[in-house]
Amino acid sequence: MADAPRPPLLDVRDLDVFYGDFQALFGVSLRVEPGEVVAVIGANGAGKSTLLKSIAGQLAPRRGEIALVGTPAHRAPAFEMVRRGVALVPEGRRLFSSLSVEENLLIGGQLGRPGPFSLSRVYDLFPVLYERRRQPAPSLSGGQQQMVAIGRALMSNPTLLLCDELSLGLAPIIVRDIYASLPAIVGEGLSLIIVEQDIVQALNTASRVYCLQEGRVALEGEARTLTKAAISAAYFGV
């Protein structure tokens, strides 16, 4: 008997997502293989965050399918998706402001999913957080808050980590530090989807790229093979 082809880790098919009457995504399809880093790029309002929120269960798609290792997941609410190994680092970090740094991390791990990430592993990854662990989360700098947001998502030991605009509002040198931590995370066997406005950063980090334009996939391909001209055509629609 021939082996059936192994289903991808994440398989998104023909996704239509609405905010009320406004349609934000039109038939978006996307696939992530185990251990892969995929970037989603696009201009403001192209639907990148909407796509991540739909995958994380925060938005229910009106049409289309989301499958995790072959199992349908498009009706699962966010708290169920975490249980199934999908964690989102939300845009703008969204830390719990009345919780300390350590409490933010602990709440990320409150489901107790087994895996490589624990409090001490996150502190190894971001040593500055250990020094600041007793401080209220809002007292940290933007870059440190982003580290908490990533650490908090890792604490749930996801198989798929969704990162929404990690570079938002951060100085370039801080962005470089944050992105430098990603190989160690992927090294633990995680798959990543990164949404990024900074195209150079996205192309350097990801193996495959999807470019969204006004809610549709305008371009898809290996990061190495995409030409600048093709990307800017897909990005700006010219």
């Binding site: 708290f79 719990f96 409490e103 709440i107 409150q110 749930s156």
Partner: protein, 287 residues
């Protein structure tokens, strides 16, 4: 000495007011729900204790073993089946629904138990007193109520700031949609918060019923005392709520000392004065 005595008694009843308030502020803190039926739920707990003491032959304090879990279950079900459906961006639906609930509870109790006032009999403990300094006598029961109130507020404080349970409450209070990303089912968290709130209500209700007469219509006044204690103490601070309850109790006792008719009025006046001078309360936690 009469004045010192009045103040001591005021402090002791302040513990009861803090218990009224603790459940109220817990619910507001976790889910921004103003529970208008809170006072009537206190009275419901008192009637529940009345039924339990009458049918099982337990004394009122032992009846807590039944009344506390029963009220917690009622709270969990109420939140899951009714109140969760009212929560959203609009603050009005939960306000209207809990107002309706208040009317339903009052009339339901009236139908079942009539308007006669009742009281729970706790036996000898009700009249036992001790002299703490010469001339000031305090009742064992009011003292017990105060100690229990302080212990419950302290317990809630520990639960909120030292346990995973409390961490989930605070995270949900900060940002429910991100709390869901942490794997927390916020509707379940809300139901657990309401269960905890009504467990505290159960204790407050039984103490109220042992201390004084009750009838189906006294709920709204307990709600007002609860609100006043929360506002005086400052939103989001449990120890502040205890302080608020004590200030209210002392103000009422001093008012009653001046003229028995001024008891309730004095409490309201102190509340208004604090609201005018320090609208954020004495020990605010949320900005």
């Amino acid at each position: 000495m009469q004045w010192a005595n009045a103040i001591v008694q005021g402090v002791l009843i302040g513990g009861l007011y803090a218990l009224f308030a603790a459940g109220l502020s817990l619910i507001f803190g976790v889910m921004r729900l103003v529970n208008i039926a809170h006072g009537d739920l206190i009275v419901l707990a008192a009637y529940l204790a009345l039924v339990v003491t009458a049918t099982l032959g337990l004394d009122p304090l032992t009846s807590l073993v039944v009344v506390v879990p029963a009220m917690a279950v009622i709270g969990y079900a109420l939140q899951r089946l009714v109140l969760n459906r009212t929560l959203g961006d609009d603050l009005l639906p939960p306000l209207l629904v809990t107002f309706g609930l208040s009317v339903i509870i009052q009339n339901g109790l009236l139908e079942l138990f009539s308007a006669d006032s009742r009281k729970l009999q706790a036996g000898a403990i009700e009249v036992q007193t001790m002299e703490i300094v010469s001339g000031i006598w305090i009742g064992l029961l009011p003292l017990l109520q105060f100690v229990v109130a302080v212990a419950i507020i302290g317990g809630l404080q520990l639960l909120f700031y030292r346990s995973a349970f409390g961490r989930a409450f605070r995270a949900t209070s900060d940002d429910p949609s991100v709390a869901e990303l942490m794997g927390l089912d916020t509707r379940r968290v809300f139901a657990l918060a309401m269960a905890l709130s009504l467990a505290v209500v159960a204790i407050a209700g039984v103490f109220l019923a042992v201390r004084a007469n009750f009838d189906p219509a006294i709920g709204p006044a307990r709600l007002i005392y609860g609100f006043e204690a929360v506002i005086i103490g400052g939103l989001g601070s449990l120890w502040g709520t205890l302080a608020g309850g004590i200030i209210l109790g002392v103000a009422q006792a001093i008012g009653a000392q001046i003229d028995p008719g001024w008891q309730v009025l004095a409490g309201h006046l102190v509340f208004l004065a604090i609201l005018a001078v320090r609208p954020q309360g004495l020990f605010p936690k949320v900005q």
